[in-house]
């Protein structure tokens, strides 16, 4: 009896192997996203976009006949949880590439793991140090534009507005300090003085002290470098402290929470945003305008609302991995994980003039961000909507 059972099991196993080889293997992509915690309002859009992307690709026949499978884990906006998630995705789910993470602290925390395990990663977070220096970030790419691109666009707008002095208030973490570092480079180059810098923690709920310090320094403009709802708290505190000048926000604020919580108090706020935020106002002369509008149309059809810029970052991560995988599949089987991961990484680095939602990507061995200044669009807030400047 026992021998028969073993025999049957063996035959079943052999069949499974045979059929496994006959059917195309899944392309497994792991995604570690902040679905809960302080960054959850960013993460929810990212997950929606990834789910939609997976569905669209598979409906269109997968990636060259291979089914795309995106496994999403929640990081709870916590860097140490993000590291655990990435380990799990790589070792248990056999992810060929990872999309991680929503925030800069998380993305920085997972770099060591990814570099060691030799898995390509596309980060959805802002900080430049995620992909710089490129020599130490061999396996790491990112889709959101560098802070330098967005800050420089805002400083140029300040100059156009006649602003001579600026005060800065931002997170005391990688995102906020990244924005400050770029402001310190861009402002002097444009003849704008930084007269005060304040910082606060993501979970702070009372910023009156920092706000009154800023207002006492009396700058022509204030730049807030945060995400909602903390960025709303900061703007409210500054306005409550009687500030009359121009308030600039960062592109990290551009989701529905920002406008919903702020209401009419945001009128006149200026910020440089990604094309997807103003998809319906983009001039057709931009080479990526149709990619943006196509994405928004699909997203709206399924979810009923326009996507956030974070959803766009996630969509671009999908587009990039899809394009790279198509190139790799011609020569490498996804069954050989190490070879496939390495070839996938090389293919991403080789993408040039790639039109996506965040703009035109030109990756190179020295540039794992790939976005130029063409992707920043300057807008103002008016009655709960963005208006194109110029």
């Amino acid at each position: 009896m026992r021998r028969t059972r073993v025999l049957i099991m063996g035959m079943l196993a052999a069949f499974a192997l045979l059929f496994g080889a006959a059917y195309a293997q899944d392309i497994v992509i792991g995604a570690a996203i902040a679905q809960t915690g302080p960054a959850s309002s960013l993460g929810s859009g990212e997950v929606d976009a990834l789910k939609l992307f997976e569905q669209q690709v598979n409906q269109a026949g997968g990636i060259m006949g291979h089914n795309l499978k995106i496994v999403v884990l929640d990081t709870a906006s916590d860097p140490s949880k993000a590291v655990l998630d990435v380990r799990k995705l790589v070792s248990e789910n056999d992810a060929l590439a990872v999309i991680c993470c929503t925030t800069s602290p998380e993305s920085l925390a997972v770099i060591d793991t990814l570099q060691r395990d030799r898995v390509p990663n596309i980060s959805l977070a802002a900080s430049a140090s995620i992909v710089q220096p490129a020599s130490d970030r061999h396996w790491v790419f990112k889709t959101p534009p560098l802070d330098s691109v967005m800050v420089t666009r805002e400083v140029a707008d300040m100059v156009a507005q006649g602003v001579k002095t600026v005060g800065f208030i931002g997170f005391n973490d990688a995102y906020g300090q990244g924005g400050l570092a770029e402001l310190k480079k861009a402002a002097p180059a444009h003849g704008v003085d930084i007269v005060d810098t304040e910082s606060f923690a993501r979970s702070d709920t009372n910023l009156s002290s920092q706000a009154s310090h800023l207002v006492n320094a009396n700058p022509d403009a204030v730049l807030i470098w945060a995400i909602p709802p903390a960025g709303n708290v900061a703007q409210k505190a500054i306005q409550d402290a009687g500030y009359q000048g121009v308030i600039y926000q960062s592109y990290g604020m551009t989701n529905e929470t920002f406008l919903r919580l702020g209401g009419a108090s945001l009128n006149g706020t200026r910020l440089s945003v990604l094309p997807v935020i103003v998809y319906d106002k983009l001039p057709g002369s931009l080479p990526f305008a149709s990619t943006v509008q196509d994405f928004v149309a699909q997203y709206q059809k399924v979810y009923g609302s326009a996507p956030s810029s974070f959803a766009g970052h996630a969509w671009d991560a999908g587009l990039i991995l899809q394009a790279a995988a198509e190139r790799v599949l011609a020569s490498t089987s996804p069954g050989d994980k190490a070879a496939f991961r390495s070839a996938l990484r090389d293919a991403i680095e080789g993408l040039h003039g790639f039109q996506a939602v965040d703009g035109t990507f030109n990756f190179s061995p020295d540039d794992h961000s790939g976005l130029g200044s063409s992707s920043a669009v300057m807008v103002t807030v008016h009655d709960g909507a963005y208006q194109l400047v110029r």
Partner: protein, 338 residues
């Protein structure tokens, strides 16, 4: 720093300090009566704020659902403790009925004040039920066991907050928007309300502890458990009331602070910790000490954030070290065994 700025920071610090004072009062009250250091104190703030928001905006009133759940569990435990198996269906049916009623009723849009009152009552009830369900069964356990229990409560309540209200941020309308201008100092009406409400609550608590038999019994239970028991004061009943009052105080803090900031499911921990720092600064024993400690923490936080925003939080939490050192030194000098 000008005088105007200093006054502004002072008022701002006192407003936040009043919130910490309410939390610190709750922590001290629970600690005195039951020897429990309640890590989950801040979660009552979150429950109070979000329940009030839910009741006034027609979102799922998770706080009431939690109260129904806790009440059902409480009744079950009470019945099973007396081995009355036959009546088990009663709380189950009652709980299910209330749950159905909550779901079936049209979404509530209560005005802010009734919403706040219902929220405070619901959270006070949840506090009492949590005492009955988690602390009372192990009443004789050491402080470390209580610490672990309340850490579990903190994690559980935060998880339920996420489940009921999701990860979003909600604003609660202030009773009267706008600012009072006194010279060049601005004070928002909500700040005045926070300070007045705190004063009122302190007065009520004083009356309760000094003028009512039950309040005196609570004080007796806090001073000497064994002695209180000998004169007929039930420690478990005292603990129940302490938890209910403490949770209610924190819910009041939550309702008061919600219009000043945004209410989120994870707002509790940092508020609870600052309340704890305030209570420790005040000596973790007396109620006036807890109030003064909370106010001191609020003012220190305001000035620290103004002076050096990067280290504002570190200074507040760091305060606990020198305070404890000073207390130890003071005890040594007086020759009392530490």
């Amino acid at each position: 720093m000008t005088i105007g700025t200093a006054l502004f920071l002072l008022v701002n610090g006192l407003t936040n300090g009043a919130i910490y004072a309410l939390l610190g009062l709750g922590i001290v009250l629970i600690y005195n009566v039951t020897r429990v250091i309640n890590i989950a104190q801040g979660e009552f703030v979150m429950l109070g704020a979000l329940t009030a928001v839910g009741l006034s905006t027609g979102r799922a009133a998770g706080g009431l659902t939690l109260a129904v759940l806790a009440g059902t569990a409480w009744a079950l435990v009470a019945l099973l403790g007396r081995r009355r198996w036959r009546w088990v269906w009663l709380p189950l049916a009652g709980g299910a009925g209330l749950w159905w009623l909550l779901g079936a009723l049209p979404p509530w849009h209560l005005p802010p004040l009734p919403a706040a009152l219902v929220a405070v009552a619901a959270v006070a009830f949840v506090g009492a039920a949590l005492y009955r369900l988690t602390v009372q069964p192990v009443a004789g356990a050491g402080e470390v066991v209580f610490l672990i229990i309340t850490t579990g409560l903190y994690l559980g309540l935060q998880g339920l907050g996420l489940l009921f209200w999701g990860p979003g941020s909600y604003s609660f309308p202030s009773v009267h928007a706008g600012n009072i201008h006194a010279g060049n100092v601005r004070v928002s009406y909500q700040s005045v309300l926070v300070l007045l409400a705190t004063l009122l609550i302190l007065a009520l608590l004083w009356l309760f502890f000094e003028r009512t038999l039950f309040g005196k019994a609570l004080r007796a239970a806090a001073m000497n458990r064994a002695g209180a028991r000998l004169v007929g004061i039930s420690p478990s009943r005292a603990g129940l009331v302490a938890f209910a009052i403490s949770a209610g105080l924190s819910a009041v803090a939550g309702v008061l602070i919600a219009p000043l900031t945004y209410a989120t499911y994870d707002m509790g921990l940092s508020l609870g910790l600052k309340g704890f720092v305030g209570a420790v600064v005040g000596g973790l024993a007396g109620y006036p000490g807890a109030v003064l400690g909370g106010l001191a923490v609020g003012v220190l936080e305001a000035f620290a954030a103004y002076g050096t925003s990067a280290y504002g939080e570190a200074i507040v939490y760091g305060l606990i070290v020198p305070v404890l050192l000073l207390r130890v030194l003071a005890i040594r000098r007086r020759g009392v065994a530490p």
